[in-house]
Each structure stands twice: as structure tokens, then as C-alpha cells.
Symmetry: C2
Subunit: 360 residues, 2 copies
């Protein structure tokens, strides 16, 4: 076994999920994540935790959903009981085909998801963590050779998380105390209010309310956005490529949309509901192990020297207790690079210049 697979499993079990002896752990193994599954099983055995392995496969899902008439039973009791009693759920992603459910009708998928909200909530109520085992299909999506992609994933995942959590705590402090953020970059000059909002230190551990490995970002919930932003990082949104999306905000609301590719997709996202016209998230990428875009939002948005903004739903963790932020059916992240000449400032104080934090 590649020693990095074992190290990945150790990071997941120890740093991310904080598994202890006697914990009841569900490990969801995707069809291409077998090797990581073996390494995680070893770590769980070593800690004296319990193990139930579930199988996740787009091919099974596709076959099931296409054959079903769409009238799904609500929250099957046997599945909910499993998650309600579990302490942790470790989701080992690793698909063999990123287009594996391409011919499943959207409404079938949506009906299945909405019939299972209780199961999903029970799962989200555990110390769950989602991570990515490198597969050839993911390498292909990233436009990389397999060996090259494996190096990329482990560079992003096997970090000094404790050190990064400390660095992120610094930015979290600045954002927590601040009232206004200003972003200046090529094609971007945007201001947002963050007064009264709490920034989240997303350090790839349930101890930090962070459920993705890798992570490496600090995010908050902005409002009253004014100005223009250009998202230069190409992305796949709803299965379509989008490039150079330019959004103009007035009084917190999108008033103009342009893009060199996929403008209609962005327009349909913005027009979903009232909340999708406003920002729900400002996220600042701080993972320096991620040095390139791979068309995988879990990695792209964490890249050091980038900022992402999400149209739609805000996370409760960023809001004062009991207060709810921007609400929407969507949460669509878009990313901009903070390159030469860029600046990120809180209440007029520069925090990052030319993509480099002032403390770096």
C-alpha cells in the first residue's frame, strides 16, 4: 500500500473525525475508493472503534433510480436507524466515472433526495467527514495524469493541519472583529458588510465544525454587497462549463450578469429565487497544498490565493444565534484568483496583497 493512503486514513480518523475507542463508525466506500477503505478499516481496528461499511456507487444509484417509478418511500426506517445510532460517518469518495448518473432525470433524483431528508439529517447529525480518494476518473476530470493527480491530492490532504488551523484562526479573528471587506483584483472591486457575522475556521476537522478533508478556508456570510466581481476560475456549474463570470451588485442584489461562456447557466442560478440574487458566503482559500484548479469544487475553493463567493444560502454557523441569514434553494460557489495587484482589506486594513497574506 502507498504509505500516503495509510497517512490519509490516519488524518481522516484522528484529525478530522476524532474517532475514539467504542465509537460506532459508518464508512461509505465509493466503488473506486477500496484502497482507502482498507486503510481506514485498519485505523478503526487499531482504535477499537466499530465498523459498518456501506457501498456507494453511481452505477447502482443510476440503475435503481432509472428503474423506480419515482414514488419513493419517505425515510426508510432501517436506514435512518443506522445513522441515528452512529457516532461518525466517513464518506470515502472515489468515482470511476464522473458522468455515471448522466442519464438519470433531474426530477427523479430530486424526488429521491427529498423523500430522504430525515436520513440525510440523521447523517449530518453525526461527526461526518467527506474525503476524496484519487481515481483515474477524477484525474481525467482534472486533466491530469493519474500519478500526477495522486501527488496533487496528497499534497492538498496531508498538511500540517494544526499549523494551518492556527493561521486560519488569525484571519477568523480579523473577520470576526471587522465590519467591511473590500476585494480588489483584475475586473473586481467589491465591498461587503460582515458586521455581526462570525467567521468559521474550516480546518478539516469536526473539532472546527469542518466536514471536508482537505479543507483550508475561512468563510463568513456577507450582506449589502456593492460593486463588480469577475470570477476568472473556469468551473462546471450544473454540468455546464462557465468562464469569466462577471456579476454587478447594487444594494446587495445582482443587477447585471455577463460571462464569456455559460452565461445562461449563471442567469438561471441567479433567477432561482429571491435569495439566489444575493451572496450567502465569502470564503478565503488558505490551502497552499492546492496549487491548481482541478474542476472539483472541494479542492478549487480551498486553493491558497483565491477567494470564492456563493450565490444563495448562508451557513447558520456564521450568524448570531437564532438569526437566519440569506435563504435560498441554491448555494453556488464561484472563484476568483487573487493575483498580481490584488488586495483584500478589512475595514481599510490590508490583509492580503498580490495573493499573499500580510503575515506570510
Amino acid at each position: 500500500m502507498d504509505e500516503r493512503v495509510r497517512e490519509h486514513a490516519r488524518t481522516l480518523v484522528d484529525w478530522s473525525a476524532r474517532v475514539e475507542a467504542g465509537d460506532d463508525v459508518v464508512v461509505s466506500v465509493e466503488e473506486g475508493a477500496h484502497d482507502l477503505g482498507v486503510a481506514v478499516a485498519e485505523q478503526l481496528g487499531e482504535r477499537g472503534a466499530n465498523l459498518v461499511a456501506t457501498y456507494s456507487s453511481d452505477e447502482l444509484t443510476r440503475a435503481y433510480l432509472r428503474a423506480h417509478d419515482g414514488d419513493f418511500d419517505g425515510d426508510p426506517d432501517y436506514e435512518r436507524a443506522l445513522y441515528e445510532r452512529a457516532d461518525s460517518v466517513l464518506i470515502l469518495k472515489g468515482t470511476n466515472n464522473t458522468a455515471g448518473t448522466a442519464d438519470v432525470p433531474d426530477e427523479r433524483r430530486a424526488a429521491h433526495a427529498s423523500a430522504r431528508q430525515g436520513v440525510r439529517e440523521a447523517r449530518l447529525d453525526t461527526d461526518w467527514v467527506s474525503t476524496q480518494h484519487p481515481t483515474r476518473a477524477m484525474a481525467q476530470q482534472a486533466g491530469m495524469a493519474y500519478e500526477q493527480y495522486r501527488d496533487f491530492v496528497y499534497d492538498a490532504t496531508l498538511r500540517d493541519w494544526e499549523g494551518l488551523a492556527e493561521e486560519q484562526a488569525r484571519l477568523k479573528g480579523l473577520l470576526g472583529e471587522g465590519s467591511e471587506v473590500r476585494l480588489v483584483a483584475d475586473g473586481t472591486d467589491l465591498t461587503m458588510s460582515i458586521a455581526g457575522r462570525t467567521a468559521v475556521n474550516s480546518a478539516a476537522s469536526v473539532a472546527y465544525d469542518s466536514h471536508n478533508l482537505p479543507s483550508g478556508e475561512v468563510f463568513t456570510a456577507p450582506e449589502d454587497t456593492e460593486g463588480v466581481v469577475t470570477f476568472d476560475v473556469p468551473m462546471t456549474v450544473r454540468g455546464r462549463r462557465v468562464r469569466d463570470v462577471e456579476l454587478t451588485f447594487e444594494d446587495g442584489v445582482v443587477v447585471d450578469i455577463a460571462a464569456t461562456q455559460g452565461e445562461d447557466v449563471i442567469r438561471s442560478v441567479v433567477e432561482t429565487d429571491a435569495g439566489s440574487r444575493r451572496l450567502g458566503e465569502l470564503g478565503i482559500g488558505m490551502n497552499r497544498g492546492i496549487d491548481r484548479v482541478t474542476d472539483n469544487i472541494l479542492f478549487d475553493e480551498k486553493m491558497g490565493g483565491t477567494v470564492h463567493l456563493a450565490l444563495g444560502r448562508a451557513y447558520d454557523a456564521c450568524l448570531p444565534d437564532g438569526e437566519s441569514g440569506n435563504d435560498s434553494a441554491v448555494h453556488e460557489d464561484l472563484i476568483t484568483t487573487m493575483g498580481e495587484g490584488s488586495r483584500l482589506a478589512v475595514d481599510g486594513e490590508t490583509v492580503q496583497e498580490d495573493g499573499v497574506f500580510v503575515w506570510e
Copy 2:
């Protein structure tokens, strides 16, 4: 997809497990059984049943068991809850390495199994069915090419089960009414009492209390065995090859053991406890789709024209209500071919001659 995989799934879901709309079904997918998993998911979707897929892998099990200190938690509640609430459990076997747990200490394995008796009982309380997807590893164990082994598995599995169930009902009737069975074959002349015992029509369906696909046998619980039997079918018992085992019975008890290979293994089986010196099962193979030995007891013992006898534990289904039969920690099947010159008789009436039933 090979149309036979789909037909296998259909047989499993319809004939064997009798799955209906709304049923809560757990599908256990072994690492090499993915394709059958996809086909079963399709069948479950078509019927409107619910699906939870679990992952079974000797490599995960090995890693977990070897890393664990051996002090296992008893019956983890989250896993038991899943099976207690399930209607059916479909076990799709398909290993990629039949020696995948070769270096797990026996006592570790035994401790794990005994800590999980409640989970196992909950699973056995469902309409469970175990079946075999053909893998290269299983072909190798059978000494067959992959394509050839696939033909073998589907010939054994895709039968006219309804027709076979009717034929087996005939033999079940004869055994149920009879008092004494006599087996005569090369190196074999054995009599057993079956008075008051119920024969089971094992027709690969939960409707017949039969939990293996393929099946195809009628079995009962004999006692007071007298005479000699030679098991000419080579087998693997406790990981060791055995050949031409010859057992001599007096007053129902083994009094002499001989074998051309593996005699000490058979001796250790016989000497396990008081019950392992007696027979717990007489089974008569009736599946004519199985035409050769493949070193897999699930297939070998069902072969038409063979008879198997098990040392050890008897099945309750063969006994009058409330009565318990031969008890033992072991149940070890051994097989003999009913060839030229062989005869199987019930109360002196010939039922099978030269390996052919009188009604065939």
C-alpha cells in the same frame, strides 16, 4: 451487461427473496460482485423496494481484524438496528482472492464472530438469501477459465426453479413418510433412521426456507447410522485438501476414520465434541445444472447424482417441533458420487439407481 447477470438478479429478487414494493432490503456487495449489485439495484428499483448497499471485502475485514486488539464490542447497536428493521438481506458473494484473510489469527476471527451473535441473528431473522457472482478468483479456485466458470455458475443458477421444487417435493414426500434410508455405492453401504424426521425441499427460495441461490437438494436429519461410507469428492476442509474419506459407523457413532489425504483434519473434525461423531444431515443433490466439482460447497453439495452427509449439527427444520437434534459446534459436509451401480433406497424401495432417480 451480460443478460445473464440481469436474469440472475431477477431470479434472486423474485424467486429467492420474494421482494415486494416497500420492502426494506439490505444488499451486501462483495468487492468483485459490483455488476450483480447494479443488476439487483435495478430490480429493486423496478419493484419499488428500498435499498441500502453494504460493502463486504475480505481486505477490509483483514485490515480491521489484524489491527484490533481482539476485545470486540458486543453487538454494536447501530448495526443491529439496521438488520432488525430490514425485511430482506441479499448477500452477493464475489471475492477477488479466496485467500484474502489467510493471515488473520483464528482466535481473532472467532472473537469477532462471537461478539456479534446478536447482529448475525437479526440478519438470519430476515428473508436473507446468499448468492455467488462469478469472479476470476472463484474460477481459479474451481480450476476453470473465467468464461467457462461464468457458464458454469449461470447453468447452476438460472434453472426452472418451480419445476425443480416440484420434483424435490416428490423426494421430500418419500423421505418424510419413510423410516430408513440405505445408501449403496462404491465403498459405501450405509443405513440410517429418518423416522419422525421432516425432509426440507431446498429450492433456493425463502418460500421453501431455503436461503442459497443456487440450491437444489432435499435434506433431512438422520440418526442411528450403521455401516461404511466413502466420500470420493475431493474437498477443502479447514483450508486443507481431503480425499477419499472413509467413515465407519456403529450405533450412530464414527468408530473408524481413513483417508488418502487429510485424514488428520477429518479426525480433528470428528473429535470436536460428542455431536461431531454423529451425522447431522443427509442431503441429496438434485441440481442437474451443476455437472462438476468446483471446490465450493455451495455448488458441490447440490450436484445432481451426489449425496452429502454432514458430521455435527442438525437443522431444526428437520425435527418435530420443540425437539432438538444432534448438537455440535461443527457442521462439516462431505460428498459422495452416486455413480454406476449405486442405489439409494427408502424402506427398501429404490428411489435412485446408478445416480438416476426412478422418475427421471
